[in-house]
């Protein structure tokens, strides 16, 4: 076991973990932040995307111990049911989800796209940038609409 300390959604947490613990497991099993999903567990699907030091990463492909000292933001850290993040609100308004399994990762990736590429995103850019997030319900059309609207609303 090894000790890890990180800031998750603004709160400092310390735990002893098996070195094999993935960041996704640490968030879900240790911290009970189950909004971060594990879909494929092979870094393809993006359901596990969270932000580490401001960057979207796949938490199923990162060791918790590698995040020692880092600041992590999960889907739980960006909005509340009464006060949704603009990107969450845009997904809701545009029906950008059906089963909702991929949505936390979609939203964390979408916010990262805005952070890197700005608020005016065209459809081509959004589709290219969402390459690492897979949705099996929506056919993506409404997700792309949601991301464009959410990006504008984040201004």
């Amino acid at each position: 076991m090894a000790s890890v300390t990180m800031t998750v959604n603004g709160k400092q947490v310390t735990a002893n973990v098996d070195p094999r613990t993935l960041l996704a497991q640490f968030l879900r099993d240790n911290l009970h932040l189950t909004g971060t999903h594990v879909g494929c567990d092979t870094s393809q699907c993006g359901a596990c995307v969270v932000h580490v030091d401001g960057r979207a990463i796949k938490s199923c492909t990162t060791l918790a111990l590698s995040c020692d000292g880092a600041s992590v933001t999960t889907i739980e850290g960006i909005g509340t049911p009464d006060n949704l993040h603009p990107m969450q609100a845009a997904f809701r308004e545009n029906h950008g989800l059906q089963c909702g399994f991929c949505t936390p990762g979609m939203i964390m990736s979408a916010i990262d796209i805005v952070n890197r590429k700005g608020h005016a995103l065209d459809e081509h850019t959004i589709r290219e940038e969402l390459e690492g997030n897979i949705c099996r319900c929506t056919g993506y059309h409404n997700i792309v609409k949601a991301v464009a609207q959410g990006a504008a609303a984040m201004k």
Binding site: R20, T42, L65
Partner: protein, 267 residues
Amino acid sequence: MYAFSYHNPKTVRQAATLLSKNAEGKVLAGGQTLLPTMKQRLASPSALIDLGHAEGLSGIEQKGRNIVIGAMTRHVDVATSAIVKNAIPGLAALAEGIGDAAVRNRGTIGGSIANNDPAADYPSAALALGATIVTNKRKIAADDFFQGMFATALEEGEIIVKVSFPIPSKAAYEKFPNPASRYALVGVFVAKKGSDVRVAVTGAGSNGVFRSKECEAALAGRFNAKSLEGVKVSASGLNADMHATSEYRAHLIPVMAKRAVTKALGK
């Protein structure tokens, strides 16, 4: 994943000591290949030596006529670097096309080059640009570094510290991605520096990245796409799998080289 001991050195020297003490240990850079491989139990290192907190391994600078990139520099930082975009735009574009956005936020140039995956993008840039791979022990020319599939000149206890790319006069990369995995079915990096033209191919060779003598000979006269018309590349030694035959890959090499040359010329 099988159990391993985890080490978090603060310097490259500490990392090298740890590596020499753990014969079955591996260096962890961005982990975007190593961790999935370990999860599938295709790799079972006894120890991971994580370079994530080691000092002095990240960053991009221009040193004279070279662009020097620290081994732990993430793909996204190469893709968006003003220095790289200005000096070697083809290299920035290559980095922008690796994996997906989240993988680029984590994966590193040193990890990609040390792993030498036969379908990885960076080895083709290193080979075509005539890069120098700088380790904690020595400098290795790209020509000597890549030694076949997943094989490199790195010795035990040797860690890549940075990669130095001579600035070419023209360079570009074009890949034909596998429609599912997005890995290069064939990727071609062309670089022209003075009268020297180098064409490096990834994804196609059954023994990893290689230089296409046929394309280089064709481009030696005139560096334009027309020079590649009618160039035939032998299919012997090329990969054949459910995604493409070796003949198809051979066909794609001059096609992608042509596109890369056109891109390099800004047309």
